[in-house]
């Protein structure tokens, strides 16, 4: 451990811990913030969305006001009780908030009327009054006729609009054409829960009305006017809840409605209705738990997004950590390699140095000594040379710097010669082999030889002294050449089996204390790859290892 610190290694554990805890704190913090934001947002929505509810709910009324009311004018005063009744029926059916309609079949004339309005010589009074509605009994439809006038009161809607009409006509500028909106506002009267509308006559008729104020026209003109007074029931307005998950209840209440028992467990808001309904308001109420549900449903997607974001950040951090780890291992492997290589070179060099020293310091060498030293020098030089060749070849193969030769080889002869050369070196090595399915195939004999040498050497090296056996089989299976090298050696632990083909990797044990750089199997794998084949391994500790090489078969 101390040696590692000196060599520049740092432990990441505390850093990692700090990082993870900071990330956690940030994550929780952002979730909290998101929740706070959702709460505020939904609470704001609760207040602002009421405008949309109002707009949607009041739309039928606007339609009634802008489209249906002017239809009274289409009849140009020709409405009678039967037609008016039918017209009202369509209104009642289409607009449920209209509860009752009073129809004043009236006349503008030059002679004074007893009920209605007389101003100057202009008189405006009803001929008859009818009421229509779902709850009007059949016998009380007719309210007023010339013969039966007792139902007409001075404060009636009729007089209110008649006065408006009279003052408008008195101030009418006959030289210009009045605008439509000006006419509309002067021929209608909007009061609490009531709209009174008088059919708008032609401009020419209005000019005549104006003349009628000042003088008697001849012949006595009589103009028909229809006035309709619509009684409205605000409670019949159909509320359209555009946000059913925000507003639990929406009610229409009088403007003064303000219940005492609205505790803090309820959210409430309100908005005043327009026009004739202005004494009423829309009252919105939701329980806290109801709003909380909406807040949560708004919060969840945000929380999920935050979670995904942090997951990605953590994943990236983990990947960086893993890469750093791998790089560290690689560095360690290279360091080991340097150690081994130095050691590998040191042994022959020191042997050569001792031999040289002995030769120099000896006064006379016997023939036997001379031969011995010569042999030692030769062998050690060979060893160095072999070591260097191996390094060189490996680099070449790795960089694909060599050419693949293609020669026909006889399989049995090839194995025979390999076995022969190794039994020469190691007389205690016992071989057996079999070839089936083919006799010969085309490949690079040098590379194949190198492959065989490495595997045979390994089998020898990693076998205990009493079990130095190797079985080589060569078979043709499904158009491919399959070699198997089965030994009874020490085997490879399962945890290491994935690493044995890596460069500079060695399993630390008693069998490779000298003369191994961890290149052999990596070299084999490069060779097989170069020959377009595959190499795999199966192994059991203390039972043996089997290498399997699959090469393409070309005849």
């Amino acid at each position: 451990m101390p040696s590692e610190k000196k060599s520049g290694y740092r432990k990441n554990f505390s850093l990692i811990l700090t990082f993870i805890s900071l990330m956690l704190v940030l994550f929780v913090l952002s979730l909290l913030l998101a929740y706070r934001f959702s709460t505020k947002f939904i609470e704001n929505e609760f207040v602002s969305e009421k405008v949309n509810v109002l707009e949607q709910s009041i739309e039928p009324y606007n339609d009634f006001f802008q489209k249906k009311l002017p239809e009274v004018s289409y009849y140009n005063g020709y409405l009678d009780s039967a037609t008016a009744s039918r017209f009202v029926d369509t209104v009642l059916l289409e607009y449920p908030f209209v509860s009752k309609v009073i129809f004043y079949d009236s006349e503008v004339r030059n002679t004074p009327v007893s009920d209605g309005l007389n101003t100057g010589k202009f008189s405006f009074g009803p001929k008859s009054i009818y009421q229509f509605g779902s709850f009007v009994p059949q016998d009380s439809v007719e309210l007023f006729t010339i013969a039966n006038t007792h139902n007409f009161v001075v404060g009636d809607d009729f007089n209110a609009l008649a006065i408006k009409l009279a003052s408008y006509i008195a101030s009418l500028d006959t030289s210009s054409t009045p605008a439509q909106d000006e006419l509309f506002s002067n021929f209608s009267n909007v009061r609490s829960n009531k709209i009174t509308y008088l059919n708008i006559p032609r401009i020419e008729d209005l000019k005549t009305y104006k003349r009628m104020m000042r003088k008697d026209l001849k012949p006595q003109p009589v103009y028909q006017q229809d006035m309709l007074s619509f009684h409205l029931d605000p409670y019949k307005i159909k509320i359209t809840n555009t946000r059913p998950r925000l507003y639990q209840y929406i009610k229409i209440e009088p403007l003064t409605y303000d219940p005492l028992d609205t505790s803090s467990s309820y959210f409430t808001t309100e908005i005043t209705l327009p026009g004739p309904f202005s004494d009423y308001k829309l009252y919105f109420i939701s329980s806290r738990s109801f709003v909380d549900k909406e807040i949560l449903s708004y919060f969840w997607p945000i929380a999920l997004a935050i979670l995904v974001f942090y997951s990605i950040v953590v994943l990236v951090a983990f990947l960086i950590y893993r890469n750093l780890n791998i790089n560290q291992k690689m560095f360690k492997l290279q360091y080991d390699f340097m150690n081994n290589l130095t050691h590998e070179f040191k042994t022959p060099v020191s042997v050569i140095k001792i031999a040289g020293n002995n030769i120099r310091s000896a006064t006379g060498l016997t023939d036997r000594e001379l031969k011995l030293y010569g042999k030692i020098l030769d062998e050690e030089a060979d060893k160095l040379n072999g070591l260097m060749n191996k390094l060189l070849a490996f680099t070449q193969i790795e960089n694909k710097a060599i050419q693949l030769n293609r020669d026909q080889i006889n399989m049995e002869d090839f194995i025979e010669s390999t076995v022969e050369s190794h039994t020469l070196k190691h007389p205690d090595f016992k071989f057996s082999y079999e070839v089936s399915g083919f006799n010969s195939f085309i490949t690079d004999p040098v590379l194949l030889g190198s492959l065989f040498d490495n595997l045979v050497e390994n089998a020898y090296k990693y076998s205990p002294a009493d079990r130095k056996n190797l079985h080589i089989s060569a078979r043709l299976i499904k158009g491919k050449v399959v070699f198997r090298f089965t030994d009874q050696g020490i085997g490879i632990p399962a945890s290491e089996i994935n690493n044995i083909f890596k460069k500079f990797f060695r399993i630390q044990n008693q069998y490779n204390q000298n003369g191994s750089v961890g290149l052999g199997l990596a070299f084999c794998k490069e060779l097989v790859n170069f020959m377009n084949g595959e190499i795999t391994v199966k192994s059991k500790v203390n039972k043996g290892t089997e290498f399997k090489i699959v090469l393409p078969y070309t005849d």
Partner: protein, 630 residues
């Protein structure tokens, strides 16, 4: 050398192509169709020595008098931006003209002037009343017999208007229900008609000193139009009458008994619409009856000779005599055909000579105009309907885009002759289909009456049957049929699109009636006696409410789904412009494509070039978009 030949050949070839391209139809500018010449309203003085006319110079229109013999003319009025709406000779040397003061209400001041442009005097200065001339010749060299509603805007009294000092003396007071006054050949008031709105009664007196007494009462569906008093028997009148018959005929009526003496001309198949009486010869000259065009039947051989001579001098054209001098020697003639608005000529009967005065519209080349063919078809209820079909020039009469052009109403008809609107549409490549649907005049009184209150029913069906007939004949492309009309024509067009079940791809309405209730309201006060008649033709607003509502496009906005063009004159006092705007708004709310156009529509044709140009440009574009790009 061969190279040269090649070039010459190519050159010639290009010429051939250029010529063949000319065979296509030239798209004429809109104005060319509607242009009227600068000289209009020709008149001849009673002595046949002077010719008068109105001449337009820029915005000013003035009265000119020209010596027929020498052709020398001079301007006699000095009007600035005021129109003369009507004028006539009252003697050999004097003319009376109406200067327009209020075009919308058709009000005018009346002036008298002599032919040298001197002694101009204003005769009336009526702000609100209108004056009609009963007898256009001066009595005792100073009195003009006129009727006026100055006492009461709803009734017309008869006055003797002194042209020397402008004084008006009442000649006969209207008891309240007289709608028309008729003078005899001496200018004596001896006939009158009264009306209670539906029925009209003919009143007669032998002398002006005697009271009128009723001799005959007829429903308004019946025509009885006095033409002239007979010179021979003072109690006999010539009249066009369809009393007790479907088609009108020229008859003699004994006014002392009120009985019809005899039929001068007429039968069960033809409808007499006009007749002319010659004061000089003291006998009826000819009657005019309508088939697909106006025809004459001569009752006087010398008149027949006169017209035959005229036909020889002006072949292959219709001729109408507009005016003549007292001696019936100098005639003012207007010619026309369906492809030519025609020209004005002077015809000297004794010398058998003609002199051309001017073309009506020199921008029109007959070869570029399209033929207006009379057509007829049978409806689903087996009634024969007449109409006209104008096919575009140089096109196969197959699968054509069609514009259906229903005429204005309530009673009226399409005539054969030059129609600028028809020619304009045909020039743009559309077949134009005009229908004298049920209720149109000129086909007998039963035919007129059968159209009453049938606005969105039989009338619409007649037009639809006509379109189906055109489709069956493979002339019309069923996917490219538009309908366009003015006034009641616009009303029919808009109803056609709301009830036509996709027969028309678009509809255009110019000043169209969109609400029958408003139409009834617009009947002016002096027409109030006729209101009951309108109720019978249009509908009674009290008893026919449902029918009227269903027939009024304003109430049917929810059934309109195809593009519409709506033009209206918002200054027109007879309409309720707010209704049209409301109608357009209702359509827009339903996402119907609406082209809305406000014209400052002047009631006068030639004065309103800009407004007319704007409207017809919009119409052409609207039809182009909806009919051609399919």
């Amino acid at each position: 050398m061969t190279a040269y030949k090649k070039y010459i050949f190519l050159f010639l070839l290009s010429f051939v192509f250029a010529c063949s391209q000319k065979q296509g139809v030239r798209i004429m500018p809109i104005d060319d169709f509607f242009k009227s010449q600068d000289r209009t309203a020709y008149r001849i003085s009673p002595d046949g020595k002077n010719l008068s006319y109105l001449r337009k110079e820029g915005k000013n229109q003035n009265l000119y008098v020209e010596l027929i013999e020498s052709g020398k003319g001079k301007r006699i009025t000095e009007l600035k931006e005021k129109n003369i709406i009507f004028y006539f000779w009252v003697s050999d040397t004097e003319l009376v003209y109406y200067k327009e003061t209020d075009p919308v209400h058709r009000l005018a001041d009346i002036f008298i002037i002599n032919k040298e442009g001197e002694n101009e005097r204003q005769l009336t200065n009526n702000e609100k009343s209108s004056i009609r001339v009963l007898q256009d010749q001066l009595i005792d060299d100073k009195f003009l017999l006129v009727s006026s509603n100055k006492r009461d805007s709803t009734v017309f009294d008869v006055y003797r208007l002194n042209v020397r000092n402008g004084a008006m003396d009442m000649a006969a007071k209207n008891p309240g229900n007289i709608t028309d006054w008729i003078t005899d050949s001496e200018g004596k008031l001896r006939l009158a008609t009264t009306s209670d709105g539906v029925n009209s009664t003919l009143l007669y007196r032998e002398r002006e000193s005697l009271p009128f007494r009723p001799i005959m009462t007829n429903n308004f569906k019946t025509t009885l139009r006095p033409i002239a008093f007979s010179h021979i028997k003072s109690n006999v009148i010539f009249a066009i009458s369809d009393v007790n018959r479907d088609k009108a005929a020229l008859v003699e009526i004994d006014c002392s008994t009120g009985k019809e003496i005899k039929v001068l001309y007429g039968n069960d198949t033809i409808n007499v619409t006009d007749a002319q009486y010659s004061r000089k010869k003291q006998r009826m000259s000819f009657v005019v009856y309508e088939t697909w065009k106006k025809e004459k039947h001569y009752l006087d051989d010398s008149i027949k000779l006169l017209y035959n001579n005229l036909d020889k001098l002006l072949p292959k054209t219709e001729t109408r005599i507009i005016d003549r001098d007292k001696a019936e020697n100098v005639y003012l003639v207007r010619t026309f055909t369906d492809r030519n608005p025609g020209s004005y000529y002077l015809y000297f009967a004794e010398k058998q000579e003609i002199r051309k005065l001017s073309d009506f519209n020199s921008a029109i080349k007959e070869a570029e105009m399209c033929e207006m063919k009379p057509v007829s078809y049978t409806t689903r209820d087996s009634i024969t309907i007449q109409g006209y079909l104008t096919l575009p020039l140089n096109k196969n009469p197959e699968n054509l885009p069609v514009v259906v052009l229903p005429h204005n109403g309530p009673v009226g008809r399409d005539f054969w002759g030059y129609n600028p609107e028809v020619q304009f549409l045909a020039n743009r490549g559309y077949a134009v289909f005009q229908v004298n649907y049920r209720g149109s005049s000129g086909y007998g009184k039963a035919f007129v009456a059968s159209g009453f209150k049938q606005w969105n029913c039989k009338v619409q069906q007649d037009i639809q049957d006509g379109v189906k007939w055109l489709i069956a004949k493979k002339i019309a492309d069923p996917k490219r049929i538009a309908i366009y009309g003015k006034g009641f024509g616009g009303f029919i067009a808009l109803n056609g699109i709301s009830s036509g079940k996709g027969m028309y791809v678009c509809a255009a309405s110019n000043s169209g009636v969109i609400n029958l209730f408003t139409y009834l309201k617009s009947v002016p006060p002096y027409m109030k006696p006729n209101l009951q008649m309108f109720y019978e033709v249009i509908g009674n607003p009290l008893t026919d409410v449902d029918r009227m509502r269903q027939s009024s496009p304003l109430f049917q906005a929810n059934n309109i789904n195809s593009p519409v063009l709506i033009a209206q004159n918002i200054k027109d006092p007879n309409i309720n412009s707010g209704e049209t705007i409301q109608f357009v708004k209702n359509l827009q709310k339903r996402n119907v494509k609406v082209t809305y156009l406000e014209t400052d529509g002047d009631t006068f044709y030639s004065k309103n070039d800009d407004s007319r140009q704007k409207f017809y440009l919009a119409l052409a574009e609207f039809l182009e978009v909806n009919l051609k790009k399919k």
